[in-house]
Amino acid sequence: MSVTVLTEAERNPRSRDTRSRRPRRRTSVNLLVGGVLFGIIAVVAILSLVALPFEPSDTTGGRLQPPSPEHWAGTDRLGRDLFTQLMIGARLAMLTGVGAVAIAAVLGVLVGLVAAMAGRWIDDALSSLLDIAIAFPTLLLAMLVVAWRGASLESAILAIGLAGSAVIARLTRVTATRVLAQDFVTASRTSGTGTLRLIRLHVLPNVWPTLIVPLALQFGGAVVAEASLSYVGLGSPPPNASWGRMLQEAQSTVLVAPTAAILPGLLLVATIIGINLLADGLRDVADPTGRTLR
């Protein structure tokens, strides 16, 4: 017995210490790195509304120039400033993410709560509908919406948001059902809490921590989906430079001017890593007990 204790202590004298500290440290690193990455993109997106180094349609920069003090990221094959386009791309990415996640959250939580609270055949009907909606590929749905409404940023956001809402709805339904079965809901109803108040006081706060991470993942997914749609020409039309379209345009000149292809790709990756890390950190903050109902 004592030998075991001794060797354990020798091998790792501060094991207790590190074990108790590790979760907290990881949380703050996630929050910090994610927040910084995501924050930079967000600031760039906001700056693009205030001022741009060049007009997006300014073609006086010379074709396919490498990065220079004047054109920080070089120019494209029409002589337009790439840094300007990257900034506009950041704005479109943020807009897509926020818009799609807002649609997914509002619609998804609403449908999920109705299914969970109503129960019986309404629940069965909604659940079957959700299963069908989830089985439908996002990009296919997006193409249908584009065919219906024409290629635009709004169509892309709507389609991506709709696809995401099905997943959020099912998650909300499952979690809310579990919360509603808890004794504290019964106890709260025992003191006369009505349905709406019950949702606001107990159901939403207990469902919310479960939704943060999926919603954040959807933010990243939405940015990628929009880039994919733009890449095949179904996203926001020119002259709005989405990162996806920049990738597509840079494809033919990638050997001559690689920065035009590398930079939008790097920004996409940075955005998604940033939001995912941020989500991880936020989850730990939102659930102080550390044991979300899953």
């Binding site: 106890a187 025992t190 003191s191 006369g192």
Partner: protein, 284 residues
């Protein structure tokens, strides 16, 4: 003396084609200010009866028969047939409940003070500073130390006995006329049990409340109830004054119950006189 609660031919059954009956033709009543013990083994239907009184049997359960709750102004409400919205107004003010597992019966993500504030606000109209003071008073009334700290805590940050005291404070907050305690001490340490029981007894006496005390523990029920209902398999086996049930049980099943707990008592020199001191754990 008027009736606080009258249950007549209550049946609870599962929805669906086979519709199994879980509570079968149960009738008993409870006078104003009386303390009624309901005793029975797991699955005897005692908790379902309590939920039916609260009008909280959800899908897939439904009730038939009638449960008349007195509202105190001469009016009654039938919790079997009344619509949900009417019951929202009745629960809390007329009837409150304490459940078996205190950790589960409080919201894990809401500070204790905030949970207590809601019934105090809704049923007794406290606002702002008065509300804050009412929350602290409610915590002090259930003899919780440092009400300020407890009010700021989450439920997993306080000990088991303290949790049940918070749950009792929550049930008492709206000043109900009837308190339903469903196995309130079963999940607690024996030493903590005695304190919680004393507290319940004091609260019932001070406020002149009626009490339905549900348990499978005969000695506990005998200590707190004037009258006892013995249930088994969803039916009432026997009803009578506590003393009579203990000394001269009429039914075979009751005799077994009494015999079993007497046999246990004989083995022990005396019941441990417990106190509900601050227990360790969870507060780190």
């Amino acid at each position: 003396m008027s009736a606080m609660l009258e249950i007549e031919n209550l049946s609870v059954h599962l929805d669906g084609p086979d519709g199994r009956r879980l509570v079968d033709d149960v009738s008993f009543d409870l006078a104003d200010g009386q303390r009624l013990g309901v005793i029975g083994e797991s699955g005897s239907g005692k908790s379902l009866t309590a939920l039916a009184v609260l009008g909280l049997l959800g899908h897939p359960l439904s009730a038939s028969g009638s449960i008349r709750l007195s509202l105190g102004d001469g009016d009654t409400v039938d919790t079997v047939s009344a619509p949900g919205r009417r019951l929202d107004g009745v629960r809390g003010r007329t009837v409150g409940a304490v459940f078996q597992e205190p950790l589960a019966s409080l919201d894990p993500l809401m500070r204790i003070g905030a949970q207590l504030a809601w019934p105090l606000r809704r049923h007794r109209g406290f606002r702002a500073d008065a509300l804050r003071r009412a929350v602290l008073d409610a915590l002090a009334e259930v003899q919780l130390p440092e009400p300020e700290r407890i009010a700021r805590s989450l439920i997993h940050e306080v000990s088991g006995g303290q949790r049940q005291r918070v749950a009792i404070a929550l049930a008492l907050a709206a000043e109900p006329r009837l308190l339903i305690a469903d196995e309130p001490t079963t999940a607690l340490d024996v030493t903590v049990q005695a304190g919680v029981l004393e507290l319940l007894q004091a609260a019932v006496e001070n406020r002149g409340m009626s009490l339905v005390f549900i348990s499978h523990d005969l000695p506990v029920v005998a200590g707190i109830a004037d009258r006892v209902v013995v249930m088994r398999g969803g039916r009432v086996v026997e009803i009578g004054d506590t003393r009579r049930i203990l000394t001269a049980p009429r039914e075979e099943y009751t005799r077994t119950l009494v015999g079993a707990s007497r046999a246990l008592d004989d083995l022990l020199p005396a019941r441990p006189a417990g106190s509900d001191g601050p227990t360790s754990g969870g507060t780190e």
